[in-house]
């Protein structure tokens, strides 16, 4: 079996299994911890504060006016590479076909050349993000193995994907094999590191928003 066959065959299968297992393990593992009812009388009706929670999912996507001056640039950097990632992952036809093959549905993609441009931009932003992580005193202090390894794994997928598209360094099928293999690695790492925030983002914002709204406070 060649590298590509291995990457999109057994390796992918194992990686998907580890991914599903790990994600559910991690979520179930903390959701089943104790849940305390909040006995304090809410200021707003449940419907109202749950609605505010959902609203917070959107509003928390961008810093409040009071914070923008300090955090705007950093958040813009963060969001822009995420948008780049979304475009690359979800709007590149081979990726759509990949997901379609697994899940049975597809959607229209964007021109490959456009995706290539986005990928290069995203790659640049990724380097900028790393630079920021190692130079910003706060972020450097907070960072641990998880942060660097998650960065590395994601970066690896982008780099191998670009190399495969541009035929850089090796034969296409080898590069494609490495690309898929690096994605397999990402799938395996996903549940164990900070990449899990993809699952946490929406509920976390919603819960915080709802709890603040329950008290009638701004969220």
């Amino acid at each position: 079996m060649d590298l590509l066959g291995f990457a999109r065959g057994p390796a992918l299968k194992v990686a998907l299994a580890v991914f599903c297992l790990g994600v559910v393990w991690r979520i179930v593992g903390f959701v089943l911890l104790r849940i305390r009812r909040d006995l304090n009388k809410p200021r707003a009706s449940a419907l109202r504060y749950l609605g505010s929670g959902l609203l917070a999912v959107g509003t928390r996507s961008w810093p409040h006016r009071e914070f923008i001056a300090r955090t705007g640039p950093g958040e813009a950097l963060g969001y822009s590479y995420h948008i780049g990632l979304f475009v690359m992952v979800l709007l590149f036809t081979p990726h759509i076909v990949f997901i379609g093959g697994l899940l049975g549905f597809t959607w229209p993609g964007l021109p490959s050349s456009f995706i290539t441009v986005v990928s290069v931009l995203t790659l640049t932003l990724f380097l900028a993000v790393l630079f920021r992580r190692v130079t910003h005193p706060v972020i450097r202090m907070l960072s641990n193995f998880d942060d660097y390894f998650s960065w590395f794994v994601t970066m690896l997928v982008i780099v191998t994907g670009l190399a495969a598209t541009a035929h850089l360094g090796a034969r296409y099928e080898t590069l494609l094999g490495l690309h898929i293999l690096s994605f397999d690695l990402l799938l395996v790492w996903f549940p164990f590191g900070k990449l899990m925030h993809a699952f946490y983002l929406v509920p976390s914002r919603a819960i915080n928003g709802a709890l603040l709204a329950r008290k009638g406070a701004v969220s």
Partner: protein, 439 residues
């Protein structure tokens, strides 16, 4: 950093001396009591982006990364990963995370107490929606259980738990309260067996701002509502909340709860004290174990309701250019957003708002018990410079707030910085501008 550095510099009461093993066991006990699905989710969600630093006035003032809010709970993140996270068995098996040491906990005393007002501003900035302030409050509890609460907070909490008063006073507060009544010629309703509203009072007001105590009595009298103070549940503050002693916090709250129940009050009226509001409005029922059989309202909420109902009429107050400091515990963490402003509007006050106001207001710097921690003062002064600048920038002649601790902090700054502004009580202003109803 040498191994005993943390412990040797910790700010401890003699009563809190114990072995390192006992400290760690205590911290783990406190931690275990706090951890649940919600706090686990918060700890899980952190992506180490460091954005919370930009909400914190301690970081903004110093640019010292250790004041990053989420960093302040680092030992508890570590403990969570090792003890309670979904992969905790793996973390323990492979030793990815070590057990938190007593030294590390002691080092963090400075971060969890001296440099955090629990103001909750970081909880508004986190892009992942983590309530960092809630985590800090839980961490303080574990620190308390480890015997690492700062000595000032520990002593006051302990004293209050035992006696009902954070500190001994020359005369009991009950007597002082009555004395304030005679001094300001206002009737102090005390120990009525039955009342609609139960009143309590910040001991800060008794000791420093008797006018505010009188003002409370005056508005109650003016409105003609049935209200009473209770000798056995007089003090609004809750040092258990500051120190992280949840059981003490419960015991302290219980005095008020029991008295309110005893007099059949429908409302427990929280005076101008921010953290008392949080402790009673948003935490007491949980510690009490069941919903409270009465409402907890801040005095400004109560007055604003009376205003809307037409029972309270206010005269125009002549204050000149005026600004207002939103107490964090009331506004950002308590949701009392509109009531203070409704009262000021009713007195014809057009506010010149601070650059950061409402839910985004910066803390005065004294909250969370920091005002009481002696060694925290230099850092506190640095952190509050920005706040004072914001107030100065409005050019306001009158500076109002509605929390006695905030007032104390600003008054302290007045001396320290030779600052030319004096914080005024909104309640006192209301009491001074009561307009006779029906005329």
């Amino acid at each position: 950093m040498n191994h005993s550095a943390g412990m040797s510099t910790a700010n401890l009461a003699p009563a809190e001396a114990r072995t390192p093993q006992a400290r760690v066991a205590g911290a783990m006990r406190g931690f275990a009591q706090e951890i649940g699905a919600l706090s686990a989710f918060r700890l899980e969600s952190c992506i180490h982006c460091g954005i919370c630093a930009d909400a914190c006035h301690f970081y903004i003032a110093t640019e010292d990364p250790q004041y990053t809010p989420i960093w302040k709970v680092e030992p508890f993140k570590q403990a969570y990963k090792r003890e309670s996270s979904p992969f905790a068995p793996l973390f323990r098996l492979f030793g990815f995370k070590h057990e938190v040491t007593a030294d590390k906990l002691a080092e963090w005393q400075h971060l969890l107490f001296d440099s955090c007002n629990m103001c909750g501003r970081c909880s508004l900035i986190c892009p992942m929606g983590i309530d960092v302030a809630a985590l800090i409050e839980q961490s303080r509890h574990a620190m308390f259980e480890a015997g690492l609460a700062p000595k000032e907070l520990y002593h006051k909490a302990s004293h209050q738990q035992n006696t009902g008063q954070p500190e001994a006073s020359a005369e009991p507060y009950r007597d002082q309260l009555l004395a304030i009544g005679s001094r300001f010629s206002v009737e102090i309703p005390l120990d009525k067996p039955q009342a609609e509203i139960m009143l309590c009072v910040p001991r800060t007001d008794i000791e420093h701002y008797p006018g505010a105590v009188a003002a409370l009595a005056r508005v109650v009298k003016h409105l003609g509502v049935s209200a009473t103070f209770r000798s056995d549940g007089l003090v609004a503050e809750n040092y258990g909340y500051y120190a992280g002693g949840k059981e003490w916090q419960r015991d302290i709250s219980l005095r008020l709860i029991e008295q309110a129940i005893a007099c059949g009050a429908k409302t427990l009226l929280v005076p101008e004290c921010g953290h008392a509001y949080t402790a009673l409005r948003w935490e007491a029922a949980d510690l009490y174990g069941k919903p409270l059989p009465f409402d907890v309202r801040h005095v400004t909420e109560f007055l604003a309701d009376e205003l809307h109902a037409g029972r309270l009429k206010l005269k125009s107050a002549i204050t000149g250019k005026t600004t207002f400091h939103d107490p964090c515990q009331l506004v950002r963490k308590g949701g009392v957003n509109d009531a203070p402003r409704a009262l000021m509007r009713a007195m014809g006050i057009e506010l010149d708002e601070l650059a950061n106001h409402g839910g985004f207001s910066f803390c005065c710097g004294g909250g969370g018990g920091v005002l009481d921690i002696e060694r925290a003062a230099p850092l506190r002064y640095r952190a509050m410079e920005n706040k004072l600048r914001e107030i100065d920038d409005t050019g306001a002649a009158t500076f109002l707030t509605t929390c006695s601790d905030c007032r104390r902090t600003f008054d302290d700054a007045k001396v320290h910085f030779s600052w030319d502004k004096k914080p005024h009580s909104l309640l006192e202003l209301v009491a001074d501008n009561l307009s006779p109803t029906g005329t």
